[in-house]
């Protein structure tokens, strides 16, 4: 009855606001060509994929008969949603005039990128929060973290300068960031409930070398790329990992399809 008396109660201003614009999903369907170009690695700002995000997990980054098996499930697999967001509102945005988007790099850091037909470029790194302990590294020349077209046996290296404008954890830092990248094709990647095929494995050895003082630090990262999706799995090593196919991942992310069965 109360509702019945409210036939005209809804006059005037609408209490329902306009919806926010929905992320524009890219026009991309995998053609499974074994190559990934800038067109098949679209950046959908605002769109996210779910990932199982684990720390310190055993991992096998070698292919068995062309198949990479990252399907092992862990009882404490947390799911996080990750995706590129537009660069603009962040505190550090002005430091990256060429940057297009930002991706959560873990550890409270953001990676700032832009992409063109030649490469996915890393413009720098910044802490998500400003303040005394902030981090801000803006490479004068961006690093090509992925060179297009990505295909089996591709390899490259690049060095980015960390100049006097950079601060890490609130302290000034001078040095270089060097990446050495190699690409291998795989028939298939298995993650929980999903099999991607074909897949490209991209291994990166990152070396941060100060100009003076403390020794260089290295970290190995292996990511698996699938057309249109982009990164569907990532394993990061502990510092100074000697093994290119390391077996313990300090960070392990794998594409998560959806909610778990009860």
């Amino acid at each position: 009855m109360r509702r019945a008396l409210l036939v005209l109660a809804a006059c005037g201003v609408n209490k329902t606001p306009q919806p926010a614009p929905q992320p524009q999903l890219p026009d991309c369907v995998p053609r499974r060509t074994g190559q990934i170009t800038a067109d098949t690695l679209p950046i959908a700002l605002g769109a996210t994929l779910d990932f199982y995000a684990d720390a310190n997990k055993p991992v096998d980054l070698t292919a068995q008969a062309g198949v990479f098996d990252l399907a092992q499930q862990f009882p404490d697999d947390p799911v996080v949603a990750l995706g590129p967001v537009a660069l603009g509102a962040q505190w550090y945005a002005a430091s990256f005039p060429a940057g297009q988007f930002v991706v959560d790099a873990g550890g409270g850091l953001d990676g700032i990128y832009h992409q063109d037909a030649q490469a996915l470029w890393l413009d720098g790194t910044a802490s998500q929060q400003p303040g005394a302990m902030k981090t801000l590294i803006a490479y004068p020349a961006p690093l090509p973290v992925l060179r297009f077209p990505l295909a089996d046996a591709a390899a490259w290296s690049a060095t980015g300068t960390i100049d006097s404008t950079a601060v890490i954890d609130g302290l000034p830092f001078l040095g270089t960031d060097r990446i050495e990248v190699d690409v291998a094709a795989g028939e298939q990647l298995e993650v929980p409930y999903v099999e991607f095929s074909p897949i490209l494995r991209v291994r990166t050895l990152a070396t941060r070398a100060p100009t003076t003082g403390s020794p260089a630090l290295t970290k190995r990262t292996t990511i698996f790329l699938f057309e249109c999706f982009g990164e569907v799995a990532r394993a990061e090593s502990n510092p100074d990992e000697p093994n290119a196919d390391f077996t313990t991942a300090a960070l392990l992310r794998r594409y998560a399809l959806g909610e778990e069965p009860n």
């Binding site: 606001p17 026009d27 699938f226």
Partner: protein, 838 residues
């Protein structure tokens, strides 16, 4: 031997019946001649006249003529061998010549020396045989709508001449669908009363009839007769219905030219049976012809005691809504309509010319929507439950236009039709195509041209065993909750299937087999570009359907209702559709148009679905109860639409839908109770229109995919076809259709005013609804709300209808928004619709 095998295998043997038929009237008169127990009816005194009925008929055909002829004549109406109450011995001669000899033998026994012979249809061939056998004993001949040329013989009879096939065809089909065949004999269907239909059915039920009818049909060869007629000079009167479709007038004109002393009389607005449809004039012409030379006075036929009966005024059936200007207000399952108008042609003469039949309408609608977003804020996806005006107000509106034509082209000959549905404007928004050459909408000079949409195009062919149909045709079943052809006056969509179908009338039912190609592709052009070649045969989504239907045409329903018969119609189908592989790269909305497809584009699908449904309709002059049940069991081995990203868990579906409608004629009003159920799925959102690749919806969403593997691997919500309308606001506009819901819908309708051919009606429906799964609603509560939908409608049989619908929806707690602390508010809608049908 082949005949025996055929009849044993399929229908049981159609046997003759040599003995007197059981059940003959106690006062029936018989003579035994040549082994045939011949029934005849005699009346009057004077010069003898013998009346000879047509094929499948009896002496009863002359019931309205015989009394007038008998005033001055001794009239003998005979049941020929194989017909009426006469026996059906196997060794009888069923040729026209044999039947003629039989008649002469009867007349000999009755002491008739000379006679005037009157024949109808095929009986005319017997009459002419009598004339050539004993021209001296025949004073004159009168023939009604004669069937005396080989060119008149339908192909069904020619097929039946084949040994074995004839037994099969006649055993299966000869007695089927009389109620649909009978109207072909009449210009005005109102003459086809239920009593007449049942009389024919009783006639065909007599023992030995089918075997005798086949024997007669195999003797439909008339060339020799015409050779002999050249010397026949006695007066002949030809009486012919100008609209005769069984034996068209052109044959009357031909016969009038062929006979040396013939006069042709024709009757407008009259079909194959002038004795009924042109009773007064044709009987007067006959009597005058027979009386010529005897000096009798003319009779006052039709002015005194034997006036033809008024055509039965067929009482309209109680319809679910107001009288519709659209044809076929009670749609049949579409498979039943295939070739429905062609089937009677199996027993008729070929068409002389190409004929075109055109129907359609122009419909314009306008609606105002008030607060259909319910002022309840955004759902958990950040979306309103209905679009919000850009200016933040409460009103939205729509107006559109559809111009539809349904065209059927009938080829020359027996039974080939090509049909199409063409929408010249298909729900085109009014003002939606402004010509912006002037620089802005405000200065638009008008509307730009719109595209023509061909929604259906298919062909039907009449075969001896049924109707073969192929093409893109409407798909509708029962009430239309699962498959809906979109034929209703306010429909938006409509299903069309690329289908090969065969429909056959067997054992009082229609048996239909159909093969549907739901999807194929991608394609590559042929070498000359003239046609497309599917690149992969395993990616076709296709399946078969078998259906059994017991249905009556709308005309037959009305006829039977007027006769006080309660009609029980029903149908059931079983369909299976499969798809082995898939090529999503050619159809996904996110796909960049691709051309060079490779094997890498092929992905496994493993789709396998079985759909079954049943429909029941009970109608009589004051009641309609109609229900449909649909069930779908499906599995998709590979639910991923993304090539190369395979999901290792299958998705399954078990969906159940049910709808009930009823109408009771209360005299001053019609009232009824409808209800329905569409199974639900516990996933968030109703899942009414999930988009391919859409992200799973969080709890609190209005819509979203119902499967979210690996945790949720089921899609169990049944979705009513959106053209099956239950209300105006909730299911039609907000959710989009009935799914995951239960509803109850009492309704009432009354006629306020009748003016000429039109009527003004007022109706109202009250719809209360609940979610089947509370987890599907935006708030997690089950009560969807209550809606009141009054309607004011004027409809005329001339084809015009104006309807004004109003709806007010009081949302239930299912739409409250606890997150935003907003309680869903009332929504209203006004919709006007004008239809001009032809």
């Amino acid at each position: 031997m082949r005949a025996a095998l055929a009849c044993l295998a399929v229908v049981g043997c159609a046997s003759f019946h040599a003995a007197p038929l059981p059940g003959a009237p106690h006062d029936a008169t018989f003579v035994d001649v040549g082994g045939v127990h011949v029934h005849y009816r005699e009346a009057g005194q004077g010069p003898a006249v013998v009346l000879i009925h047509g094929y499948g008929a009896s002496a009863e055909a002359w019931a309205q003529v015989q009394p007038y002829v008998a005033v001055h004549h001794r009239v003998i109406a005979i049941d020929l061998a194989g017909f009426g109450w006469s026996s059906r011995p196997e060794d009888a001669d069923y040729s026209p010549a044999g039947e003629a000899r039989l008649v002469w033998a009867v007349l000999d026994q009755l002491g008739v020396a000379d006679v005037a012979v009157v024949g109808h249809s095929w009986g005319s061939s017997v009459a002419l045989e009598m004339a050539v056998q004993h021209p001296a004993r025949v004073r004159r001949v009168a023939l009604y709508d004669a069937y005396v040329y080989d060119e008149q013989v339908p192909s069904f009879f020619r097929w039946a001449e084949l040994d074995g096939l004839g037994e099969l065809l006649f055993g299966l089909f000869y007695t089927q669908r009389i109620e649909d065949r009978a109207p072909l004999a009449y210009y005005d269907e109102r003459w086809v009363t239920q009593d007449r239909v049942e009389r024919v059915e009783r006639e065909l039920d007599k023992p030995g009839t089918t075997a005798a009818a086949l024997a007669v049909a195999r003797e439909h060869h008339f060339a020799e007769l015409h050779d002999q007629l050249r010397t026949f000079t006695k007066p002949v009167l030809l009486l012919w219905g100008e609209a005769d479709q069984v034996t068209p007038l052109v044959f009357g004109q031909r016969l009038a030219n062929e006979l040396s002393n013939a006069t042709l009389k024709t009757y407008p607005r009259c079909g194959h049976i002038p004795m009924v449809e042109a009773h007064v004039q044709s009987t007067r012409d006959l009597v005058e012809f027979l009386d010529e030379g005897f000096g009798h006075r003319a009779l006052g036929i039709g002015q005194n005691d034997e006036a033809p009966p008024e055509p039965v005024l067929i009482r309209p059936l109680p319809l679910p809504k107001a009288q519709s200007p659209m044809p076929d207000a009670l749609p049949l399952p579409d498979l039943a309509t295939l070739g429905a108008e062609l089937t009677p042609r199996a027993y008729a003469a070929p068409r002389e010319h190409v004929e075109v039949d055109l129907h359609g309408y122009l419909r314009t609608r306008a609606a105002d929507y008030y607060n259909l977003d319910l002022d309840r804020g955004l759902d958990s996806r950040g979306q309103p439950v209905f679009p919000v005006p850009l200016d933040g107000g409460q009103w939205l509106d729509s107006a559109d236009l559809r111009a539809r034509t349904d065209v059927a082209v009938y080829a020359r000959g027996i039974g080939v039709a090509v049909k199409a549905r063409i929408d010249w404007l298909d729900n085109a928004p009014l003002g939606g195509d402004p010509d912006l050459a002037g620089g802005s909408p405000a200065t638009s000079g008008g509307q730009r041209p719109s595209e023509v949409v061909v929604k259906r195009a298919w062909a039907e062919a009449l075969t001896p065993a049924g109707i073969l149909a192929v093409g893109r045709m409407g798909a509708h079943f029962g009430l239309g909750i699962a498959a809906n052809g979109g034929d209703c006056e306010d429909c938006d969509h409509g299903d069309a299937a690329d289908r090969l179908a065969f429909v056959s009338p067997i054992a009082g039912h229609l048996i239909a087999l159909a093969y549907d190609l739901a999807s194929r592709g991608p394609f590559t052009p042929s070498a000359d570009g003239g046609h497309a070649i599917a690149l992969e045969p395993t990616d076709r989504a296709a399946g078969g359907t078998i259906a059994i239907l017991k249905v009556h045409s709308p005309a037959a329903l009305a006829r039977r209702a007027a006769a006080g018969i309660t009609n029980v119609e029903y149908a059931a189908y079983l369909s299976r559709r499969t798809q082995q592989n898939d090529v999503p790269a050619w159809y996904l909305p996110s796909a960049t148009p691709a051309t060079n497809f490779t094997s890498a584009d092929l992905t496994a699908r493993g789709f396998d679905a079985i759909a079954t449904g049943a429909w029941l309709r009970i109608t009589n002059s004051w009641l309609r109860v109609e229900a449909e049940l649909a069930y779908i069991d499906a599995s998709v081995a590979q639910p991923s639409l993304v090539p190369g990203a395979a999901i290792t868990e299958p998705v399954t579906s078990n969906q159940l839908g049910f709808a009930l409608e009823s109408d009771v004629d209360l005299g001053s009003a019609r009232a009824g109770f409808d209800g329905g159920y569409a199974s639900g799925d516990p996933a968030p959102g109703f899942g009414a229109f999930p988009q391919p690749g859409a992200q799973p919806a969080p709890p609190g969403a209005l819509d979203g995919p119902q499967a979210n593997p690996p945790g949720d691997r089921t899609v169990d919500n049944f979705r009513f076809h959106p053209d099956y309308h239950v209300d105006e606001i909730l299911f039609r506009e907000i959710i989009g259709t009935v799914t995951d819901a239960i509803y109850l819908r009492p309704h009432v309708r009354t006629t306020l005013l009748r003016v000429g051919t039109g009527a003004l009606e007022l109706g109202a429906a009250l719809i209360a609804s609940w979610a089947a799964d509370a987890t599907s609603t935006p708030s997690g509560q089950r009560a969807l709300g209550v809606e009141l939908d009054p309607e004011l409608r004027y409809a005329s049989r001339d084809g015009f209808a104006a309807t004004l619908d109003y709806g007010v929806f009081f949302p239930g707690t299912a739409f409250d928004n606890a997150t935003a602390h907003l309680e869903a508010q009332t929504a209203q809608l006004v919709r006007a619709r004008l239809v001009f049908a032809f």
